[in-house]
Structure formats: C-alpha cells, structure tokens
C-alpha cells in the first residue's frame, strides 16, 4: 500500500461516467476499472444507466471496521 493510500480513513470513491450499452456492462466496467486501478475490495455504490452510458460511484475500501488502520500509527500522532 502506498503512503497516501494509508492515509485514506476508510474508502476511495470514484465518480465517473462510463460509456456502455446497459447497466450490466456498466457494472462490469466499474469493477474492472477498480481492478485496473489496483483496488482489491471494490463495490458499486451507485449506478444509473441511461442511453449513452452509466453514471457511477464506485468504492474501493482501504479499511473496513475492525482492520488495523495504518493512519492510527502515523509517527507524528
């Protein structure tokens, strides 16, 4: 995990618009995008497909409750 990602409190949301034929393709592309970006624990928070594509909010979790949070052990804390 990079230094900056360690400082994310819990998750990274990607807000974008994916050009796709239907919602199913939009979902597949959403998860593929997160995978390509290196997020191992990704989920789709919101998706709405209309004609040209899908408005999506995709989430990559860095920490979930119960994990050991690296930002907690930051040296200057």
């Amino acid at each position: 995990m990079s230094g900056a990602l360690e400082r994310v409190m819990d998750a990274v949301d990607i807000e974008t618009f994916l050009v796709c034929d239907d919602e199913e393709e939009g979902k597949r592309l959403s998860l593929q995008l997160m995978n390509e970006l290196g997020f191992k624990d990704a989920s789709i928070v919101f998706i709405q497909h209309q004609g040209p594509g899908a408005r999506v909010r995709i989430r990559g979790y860095i920490y979930k409750p119960g994990d050991s949070y690296a930002w907690l052990f930051k040296k200057d804390n």
Binding site: F17, Q50, G51, P52, G53, R55
Partner: protein, 605 residues
Amino acid sequence: MTVQKKKVLLAPLDPVHDIGLKMIKRGLDQAEHDTILLPPDYSPEEIIKTAMDNDVDVILISRTLGYRVAEILGSFIDLAEASGIRERVRIGIGGMAIRPELAAELGFDAGFGPGTTVEEAVAFVEGREYVKEDVSRSKFKKDMTEKYDYTFKNKRIENLLNAIVDGIIDYVKNKTTPGVERAKIRERMLESTDETEVLKLKKEYARLCDNVVKVYYDSGALKEKTRHLTAEELKALETYLEKLKLRINPLKLQHADKNPMVFIQYGTGCPFMDIAHIKTCEAWGADGVVHFDPSWGARTEGFFEGYITHEEDGSVITYENLRIIKDALMPSTLWQVRAHRGLNTPETVLLAGKVGADLTKINIAYGSLGGGTDPERLTVDAVAAIKYAARFDMPFDVVTNEELCGVPAHKAFAGMLIVTMLGLRLGAKPILQPLFCYSPEVMISGQMRDNYVDFNAAKISALRSILNAPIWCGAPIGFLTQTEDRVQSSLSTALHASLASVLGVDGISIASADEAYSGGPISVAARIDTLRATQSAFRFFGHAEITPTRNSEIWASQIVEGIESTLDSVAKNGNFVDALYRGLLGSRGEGAYPGRAGRGTVTSL
C-alpha cells in the same frame, strides 16, 4: 387481453420494513388480484406455511436490511423447495438490499432492486414482460412564448420604450456594418448552387473578415488550437449516434405541470464532445441546450467553414458544426444558438435559422456593456439579427448578464426591456431573461444577506407587473452561490430551480456541478448531478409554495421605479447608442464598460 386473477402473498422477510410491499399490494388490489400481506418479522417457516394454507400463486418477499441477506434468502428458497411449493409458486424478491443478480443466484424468479416501480412488480405477478414507459414519445418541443400576448400593464414604461425604440429604428436606418454585409453574402453562398458564384462570394466575404479568417479563405489554414475533424472521425460519430438512437429513453425532470423547461449550456470546444454531453443530458431529462461559442470568435470579424474542433472553451460556429449538432438532437430538444455579443451576430442568427435552431439570444445592452462589443456596432448588428430571428420565427431571450459586472438589476432590466420592445416592433418574439443569482449588486447592498429568495422573487414580480411576457431565468441560475463541491453545487442549483418553478417562470438554464471549478472542462458526470438534483427538487415541492418575506414586495417596487427612471433618462438623452456610451444603462463606476470590438466599423449606405 384478460389477465388471469392471481392470489399473491406479500411478506417482509425483515424485522420492520414493509412500505414497498404495501405500495405493491395497493397496485395489485387495483388490478383486482387477491392479496395477503403479512406483518414484518415473520420467520421463513411461517411465510411458507401461510403460502401453503392459502394456495397462493405468487410470493413476493421484501428485504431492506443488507445484514446476512444472502444467507437468509438462500435458506428461504431451500425451505420453499423442501415444502414442495417451489415448482408451482413463483417467488420474487425486492428491496433496498436486493440486486437482480443476487436474486437469480439464490434461485428467485425475479429480483427487484432500488428504484423498482409498482408496475414492474404487477407485471411480474401477471407473468408479462414489463415495458418501461417511453418518455421520448410523450416529450415534445414547447413554445415558451405561446401563452403570452406581450401586453404592457405599465403604460408609462410602454410609452418610454416606444419613444426609445423609435429612435433606435431611425438611428440604424441607412447604416451597415461588415457583420451585416457578411450575413447577406453568407445567405447567398448557402443558397447558390453555382460553384463559380460561391467562389466569387467567398472572396467577397473574406474581404470583410479579420486577417486570421482571411488567411483561412486564402490558404485553408486555421487559427492555432483549432483543426478540422477527419472523415474517419465524422464516420465514427455517425455510427455512434445510430447505435445510441436505439437505446435513448429519456427521463422527465418535471413532476408538476408548472415546473419550467430546463436548459443546459454546452461549449466544450469540440462538437463531438458537445454531442456526447448533449445526448447524456437529453437522456437525463434536459429539455433544451444552449450553444456557447468561443470568446475569441466574438471578437473576430468572420467565420471559418467546415467541421472544426477547438482545444479551449466554446465551440466554433460554422454552418457544418451547427448542422452536425442539430442532426444529433432528439426531435423534442429545444436548441438555442447565442448571438448576444460579438462581431458576427447577424450571421450567427442567420446560420442558426438556416440550420433549424429554435431559439437565439440577443441583447444590445449586455453585449456592449458586459460583452465587449462596441455599442454602436452592436446596435446596428442587433437590429439585423432581430430581423433574421423574426424571419426564421426564432424567439430570442434578452439576457441581462451585465448584472454580473455590477450593473444594478433595474438598469439591466431597462436595457432588457428596450431590446424586448425593439424585438416586438420588428416582429420577433422576445423572452425576458433575468439573472437568478447572487449578483454583485446584492453582495454590496445586502439584499441577499438573509436569504436568496426575496430579491430573486422581487425581480420576477417586478417584470410581471410591467408586461405579460415569457420569463426564462438565467444564466445559469444560482450563479455565484455554487462552490466546487458537487453536492453543495447541485443542491444550490436545485433550490434555485425550485424557487423559479414556484414563481411560475417558463424556463431555467442550469449549471453543472462543476460551475465554480475553473481548472478545466466540465465533466459529463457533473452535468448529470445537477439534472438529478433538479428532478428531485421538482419532486420535493410539487405544487407547494415558497413564501418570500415582506422585503420582496418592497424591492419589487424599487426595481420598477428604478426601471422607469432609467428609461426616462435614456428617452431624455434622445439617442440610445449615446446613452450606452454615457453609462445611462450601466456606468463605468458600476462595472459596465462600453466594448471596443468593432468600434468605428459602422458605415452609412
């Protein structure tokens, strides 16, 4: 077709939530099916037993909580199989925690996620395919001016406007400009089928252009940061649009009849990206789109030709660029091409009319005091432009963005009313476009210290007390109240849209959630956000009212008094163009500077 009556068991497999099932029960009852609704918190065993005891045809389960959802629903299906009812009973599952793929994976016959309609659930019970309403068939172009007769209720203002407009019509008689002449030549070029004549006309046209455009007509070289779109790109666009046409079923933003038409503004620089944004906005319910051209285009004499893309804000106006944008629009989408400032206003309106635009935008006062065009030049050009608007039956809005420079609303409105009267006298259909935003005037004077409602309401009330004309709030609504945060920005836009709707205006122009961001082009996601927010706001208020405070009435009266006194001073001055130079419709001290582009280019015929 007769639908067979079904016996349906509705059961919330959830500790508390059953609202969705109650709504579906109502829909099923209305469709005359027999329904049994169980209370929440029944166990899977109790639900299956009720289904068996009542010999039901369909079970509809709901589940809102996501906690252990797969495990609970999986065991429900196992139990249904073990009891022997699975083969003859169709089982559907819905609720916030449900996704169709999860439902299918667990063995349900259907899964209804968030956003499912009652009609969808009824269709499942009746065993028929659900066909989503095709909004595109019920959407049609509206004429914003249709229900207005332009009767003046304030006769003193009407008389003053008539006197001022008499002077303008007299002033422009026997005067012309390179812009007026180019429009005439362009029309002949578009109508000619004789190539030799067209070449001759092009030379004539080029002589009336600035050097950067002349070079294009001489050698084909374009301005820096612009390029021609390739044949390959044009072909790919055609294919993209053909495919897209088949799957566009737009949303509708309006919830109540009184909700105004919603316009978005585009001008990414590239006609292809513009089209991609327009199609997305159409899909998310926009009723109209407004073309923004580059600011350098307004300061340059003459237009290029062909399909041209540009690397900075504003999309280049050419006949071809306008044509591909027009061809990409849904038949119900209103399309406006702005011609409110600059050195090409008559030709812009001509091209817009020839291509088939529905609306244009013209205002001498704003264009010359806040838009950088010389007042005399724009007065002569605007009269020609308004005549084209009348000829092509294209209503035009009279935008008052000089308020953003600091000009007080009453002076901006006086200028707007002069151009409105000029439009009416020349046979056109003007639309009032007051700013609906946080203007410098109120920042300094404090009318919006408490709320954004009163002063905006005062403006609409003042205009309504003067004449019966359409009102289209601009541009964009909520300007200077939005921040770079998309949630705050979308909310602010939606609240202004609600206020405009409650005040009964005919149209609004909305920004994207990127309105306050100046670091780069607007993203399409940011456009969707404000459209969705506006739709939610219309749904929230319906026919409910917003009550301004007493200040609104006081300020409305002050605005009307200010308009009268401004018009009085312009009429007494005797010359509208001179009044613009002298600051009677907005002074240098207020932030209005008479433009210099095109100064000294008006000639006598």
